[in-house]
């Protein structure tokens, strides 16, 4: 069935809530209003106010109580109105949820999800790509889908996972990206990258919105005779090294791309692992394309300039291919 990225996420959550009584949602304005982006439109009518809980603007209390409910056998889905506001509940995610398996051997099957990313004139406080913080925190799984079918499959896998998952939905993809999504049960296991385009000259390793930039770049470069391979890692934690290394062995040239800022971004981790393990297959240095190291600016002229895009990827690939 054709669905937008947003519809696919809603479909996954509805599927799991129908299937498993332990799944409930908590967040701000998710009930009658259906959420700031309308992801939970119709959920209150179907599941009632006990399972669709409108909470006060208290991210720490929302995430913290979801952790407590997890310890008591529930499987909560927490909506952050914007992923930027997870900073207000950061302590709960990192200090409490991310250490519980290690300390207590107890599951925290909580998904914290919401809209992230820029390119939509959001301003510095509604545009952040915060995924690397959680990859660095230990004990937290980090998911960044790029396509509707993956968004559904990864969401179902995340809800069923016994570890805390932070699930980054790119708000720019919500209604822009449409695709075929399997009906009913559809699971994409966490920790499996997907080769979304095969090519022989250069690999782009990306996730989230950068996958679409890479695909657009691949189309443009094809006319120049450069065949780009695009690997969507889909989840940062767990990280599927093997699929990435396979692509590196095949093409020998690698560009890592993400919308998040460059410094200490997850791209640095990917580049380091490639250098460690696949160095002898490389014909050129590993390059990165990412956002300029600034908050995401508001005015479109600034925002478009600091964020990565398909043209920046093309330029970098051309350089790599002539190295």
């Amino acid at each position: 069935m054709q669905m937008t990225y947003l519809e696919a996420i809603a479909d996954a959550m509805r599927h799991e809530m129908r299937r498993d009584e332990r799944v409930f949602m908590i967040g701000e304005d998710i009930g009658a209003y259906g959420g700031a982006f309308k992801v939970t439109k119709g959920f209150l009518d179907e599941f009632g106010s006990k399972r669709i809980i409108d909470a006060p603007i208290s991210e720490a209390a929302i995430i913290g109580s979801a952790i407590g409910a997890s310890l008591n056998g529930m499987r909560p889905i927490v909506e952050m109105q914007f992923m930027d506001f997870i900073t207000n509940g950061f302590n709960q995610v990192v200090t409490v949820a991310g250490t519980t398996a290690y300390r207590w051997g107890l599951p925290v099957p909580m998904v914290v999800r919401g809209p992230s990313g820029g390119g939509v004139g959001g301003n510095p406080f509604h545009s952040r790509n915060a995924e690397a913080w959680f990859a660095h925190a230990t004990g937290i799984k980090v998911v960044c889908p790029a396509f509707p079918d993956d968004a559904k499959g990864l969401m179902i896998a995340s809800i069923r996972d016994n570890d805390p998952v932070v699930f980054f939905e790119h708000k720019g993809l919500y209604r822009k990206i449409k695709g075929e999504v399997p009906e009913g049960e559809h699971i994409v296991p966490l920790g499996q990258a997907r080769v979304v385009r095969t090519g022989t000259h250069c690999s782009v390793i990306a996730y989230g919105s950068a996958v679409h930039m890479a695909l657009a770049a691949a189309d443009a470069l094809a006319s120049e005779g450069i065949e780009l391979e695009v690997v969507d890692i889909r989840t940062l934690v767990p990280f599927d090294e093997e699929t990435v290394f396979q692509s590196v062995r095949k093409t020998g040239r690698v560009l890592v791309a993400h919308e998040a800022v460059l410094t200490a971004g997850f791209g640095g981790e990917i580049a380091a692992r490639i250098a460690d393990t696949a160095f002898r297959y490389l014909d050129a240095p590993v390059r990165r394309i990412a956002a300029f190291d600034s908050p995401t600016p508001f005015a479109p002229s600034l925002e478009q300039a600091v964020l990565p895009n398909a043209e920046k990827i093309q330029t970098a690939v051309r350089e790599l291919c002539s190295f």
Partner: protein
């Protein structure tokens, strides 16, 4: 009460022998709060989220002494495998969920535990604690407001022992009574003498009953004095001697013993004998724990996730 007190005696002895590992946080002066409150709960149905001066409550919830010591001292067999120590362990079978060091972080978690049962139509009272210092953390505010809005059966005891590490009340908050905050949340609040175990019990029992009637959370401030340093490394020279003298006359264990003896429940000799036996038990359990090796180093590499 005696177990709570003699646990500290034994731990202090261990510290002085140089054999303690990690901070030794005495609950001297706070026994009536942790013991009296825990007795007000139904240990088969309710749940305990203790803090760092609540060892007494672990015993009320039936924690095995040997297991407690092994956990505390992070030896092989610890329920935390050596990943953490002191009273931070969780024992779901005994309905005890220990704290993280970050003050205030467990209050929303305790609320959420009860919320889960509320969604199932069951009332499970969560009992948790915070200090006069920790009560200033933002998460405490969020959790109390959230609990009040959703009428969650949560009892938060603010253990006002006058100091937060070296910082006196006057530099922590400007209101008269910390329980006055309850009005602002629309919940029940009261401030009581935290050295009187029967008063603590009765106050918490009422809070439990309110919670079971669906009337939501309660905020109880207990006034005590921290009779030792923040932990044993701290000589607490910043605390005026007169203050300690004043409060030592109200020692919760000694005053309760006097009451029990006066009421004819036990004789002074019986209590002395029980006290000696309790201390001997504590020391023996510590010795048994210390005979155990440290956990195997490979434990450090396990269980970061439930499944990868």
């Amino acid at each position: 009460m005696l177990m709570a007190r003699e646990f500290d005696t034994a731990m202090l002895r261990l510290y002085r022998q140089g054999k303690a590992f990690g901070g030794v946080y005495s609950q001297l002066g706070n026994e009536a709060v942790s013991v009296g409150s825990a007795y007000a709960l139904d240990t088969a149905q309710d749940v305990l989220f203790p803090m760092h001066r609540n060892i007494g409550s672990h015993f009320v919830f039936g924690q095995d002494l040997d297991q407690l010591m092994v956990n505390h001292l992070a030896r092989e067999g610890s329920q935390m495998r050596g990943t953490d120590g002191t009273g931070h362990y969780a024992d779901p079978a005994r309905r005890i969920y220990g704290n993280v060091s970050h003050l205030g972080a467990m209050i929303p978690v305790a609320a959420g535990f009860s919320l889960a049962d509320q969604l199932r139509g069951v009332t499970t009272v969560s009992l948790t604690f915070i200090g006069d210092g920790g009560a200033q953390v933002g998460e405490v505010h969020e959790a109390l407001n959230f609990a009040a809005v959703h009428k969650i059966p949560l009892i938060l005891i603010i253990e006002n022992n006058q100091y937060a590490y070296s910082t006196p009340n006057s530099l922590e908050f400007a209101c008269e009574r910390l329980s006055d905050r309850a009005i602002g949340y629309g919940m029940y609040g009261t401030t009581i003498d935290g050295t009187d175990v029967e008063l603590v019990y009765a106050t918490c029992k009422e809070a439990v009953e309110r919670a079971r009637r669906g009337e939501g959370p309660s905020l109880i401030e207990t006034k005590t004095m921290r009779m030792r340093g923040h932990a044993e490394h701290d000589d607490f020279s910043y605390v005026p001697k007169e203050l300690l003298e004043e409060w030592s006359a109200k020692d919760p264990v000694e005053t309760y013993i006097t009451r029990i003896v006066n009421d004819g429940v036990m004789t002074a000799d019986e209590i002395t004998a029980l006290r000696e036996a309790t201390l001997a038990n504590m020391i023996a359990a510590i010795d048994r724990a210390l005979e155990r090796p440290w956990p195997a180093a490979e434990e450090g590499f396990k269980n970061v996730f439930m499944s990868v």
